[in-house]
Symmetry: C2
Subunit: 401 residues, 2 copies
């Protein structure tokens, strides 16, 4: 293990090693949550026609000559029908919300502001009669060809709706990295099995795979490694061939059976760093294979260490790899908090409904129960300090926006 | 249409009509994002054994007699192996992180704090020698049978990991409502088709289905209705039979072809309300069929109205139906903002990295481009008011925590 480096130096080494992901074309139906890699433009003016905004009648406002002016209804302009044509003076059309404005009309009067006797319409004294009224005019939101979504935008519900509205049914997006998660430890058994009194059930995959896949940041497969050097070596060989990113949990400290670090170094050279001056997660290590652009994250084995290092380093690295701009968030402390460790570090927290953070007290990095109801980690950069209520802290969420 | 009611009265009528969803049992692999309906307890003490927290050696601390005391290594306690037994004085075991503490030992000394000569260990002068050191002792996080997750909790990554760790491979969760989304309008064509100059492409399903399903709040199917009374009537009949929740978009104003409201009222009685004093989304209506507990949301047809009413009313209703406790969030305005309409309402906003809200200016409720990059809506309760920077406003997010 090299000497411990600072959190800032670890982040710098990691983030400067990353390369942007390739792009691929996906259908609109598969694009949710993905990162757009092209700019998306309007194929028509928006709105694409003079759009009626209220149910009512459409008139030529110049034909209004004061209270009592009558208009004869000569047709109905339904939404989805070609535009009607006004050919006679003092006539009007019934119009429906979403319809194209009939030719020869320039003003819509809502149904609440008219009275109809047989086919004749009289306007209410408080009706507004002016050109353009209740008309969402062609191109008033955006001109044809204008940029609606920039590249490197995440496609959430609203962005997918915008893509649908301009008929963009294939989109260039960031290719998701193929991630192999390699957990380790002879004491770890599947959740479905009954442990002996020196065994524990596997839980890291449950956390990590959901963290990554629910944020649409990669596709994961999972392998569990026994504490066996040749199996570990073979698994690393296979994973390096099949994956863009490797994630290990456990087996990277100074234990007699910690084969992962030496096997990785033998295959792809020295780590970017191994050991960070932080709590929890001190044994955290990263490698980068320049030949294949494969990134390797070796997270410590304790549950809170896994969660903290995955949230602080892995998620932001995936976000950067996918070319999504996502500056660090900040939240204010809901209460004073004494960061006791002699080094900086991360504490699990929940975000309250006023967006302040409440710290979840943890006993040690093995105390995974403190993660219940947690929304992410805050960063305490100064050791052994009493942080005041309302102190603004960097926040690393489980769920990206 | 009944007289307009206030936003508060609409919310009260809607939320008091809702019933809690049924429960169902799902496997751990399918439980992510779901709402837990049982409390989840520890099947063993946590940790389940005296767990070694560092790679090093385990000794009996009472056998330490000052600087220079030597211990003979008599075995290796690997993680995942049954506990060894110390039988002779002044002996120790090599121990690995995650292993059970060997019987007869009470203290772990990390590898950094010892020196080994052949099989003999001398402790560093600054090693801490006390009973319990670097031991995560059995039951210290939680006793067997204690509650780890309460009912009505959302199962995020950390909660799924906790369930895995206690071997809970089947969980009782809220059943997701079967939702039928019925869009309407003859002017609306599928995104894959080329519109004529009086047509627009369908975008509401893209927004609504992703909004609901990415939050794991329901399963949606979509039907598009032409402006035809008998087809509308038949579709309502079928949807009421097949669904727990119906969502309409458009066709509920005063247009000549707005058949949805009369057809619904004919089948399931008068609406809870129809028309809310808000902007956007004034024509919004809700029905509740007491006989079948079916809720019906009739959203207006303009895109920003759809998004605002879905975010303010539909999502919170689904959250309540699924029995998830989720009090209203608040955010502070990043800038002064003048709410110009003569009635209260909702504005789309993005949440900045300091958790403040920046309002997206919209031209009118048809201006869906203002939704790009938006994270939800804030509520302006006072009409025609200049809101100061830092004013705290209720916030309705697209993405629930």
């Amino acid at each position: 293990m090299k000497p411990l480096i600072s959190i800032e130096a670890a982040a710098k080494a990691l983030f400067s090693s990353l390369t942007p992901s390739d792009t691929e074309s996906v259908s609109l139906a598969d694009a949710f949550g993905r990162v757009l890699r092209e700019s998306l433009t309007a194929d028509r003016p928006i709105p694409p026609f003079d759009r009626v905004m209220m149910d009512g009648i459409a008139i030529d406002s110049s034909e209004f000559h004061g209270i009592g002016t009558e208009f004869l209804i000569v047709g109905t302009q339904a939404a989805g029908s070609p535009p009607l044509e006004k050919t006679q003076a003092q006539t009007c059309f019934e119009v429906m919300t979403g319809a194209i404005l009939p030719h020869g009309c320039d003003c819509v009067i809502p149904v609440e502001e008219i009275s109809i006797t047989q086919d004749s319409v009289i306007l209410s004294p408080d009706a507004v009669i002016e050109a353009g009224h209740y008309i969402h005019s062609i191109g008033s939101d955006s001109a044809e060809g204008s940029v609606l979504l920039k590249a490197n935008t995440r496609l959430g519900p609203a962005e997918i709706a915008i893509a649908a509205s301009v008929g963009k049914i294939q989109l260039d997006v960031s290719k998701l990295p193929r991630i192999t998660l390699l957990t380790s430890g002879d004491e770890v058994i599947p959740p479905s099995q009954t442990p002996q009194n020196f065994e524990i059930r596997s839980s890291h995959p449950s956390f990590l795979i959901h963290l990554i896949e629910s944020n649409t940041l990669g596709t994961c497969q999972h392998v569990h490694l026994p504490d066996d050097r040749s199996i570990t070596s073979e698994a690393i060989h296979t994973a390096l061939q099949n994956s863009d990113i490797l994630i290990f949990t456990g087996g990277i400290s100074k234990g007699k059976f910690d084969y992962i670090a030496p096997e990785l170094s033998a295959r792809i050279g020295e780590p970017l760093f191994h050991g960070v001056k932080q709590r929890p997660g001190k044994p955290f290590a990263c490698w980068h294979d320049a030949a294949t652009s494969t990134s390797v994250f070796a997270l410590p084995g304790n549950p809170v260490s896994v969660c903290a290092t995955a949230t602080r380093y892995l998620l932001p690295a995936l976000i950067q790899h996918l070319t999504l701009s996502s500056p660090i968030q900040h939240v204010k402390l809901a209460h004073p908090f004494h960061w006791k460790p002699p080094i900086p570090g991360f504490a699990p927290c929940s975000i309250n409904n006023d967006q302040t953070a409440t710290i979840h007290q943890m006993q040690n990095s093995g105390d995974y129960l403190c993660l219940a109801g947690c929304h992410g980690f805050v960063y305490f950069s100064q050791p052994q300090i009493e942080y005041a209520v309302d102190t603004e802290l960097p926040f690393y969420p489980f769920l990206i926006k």
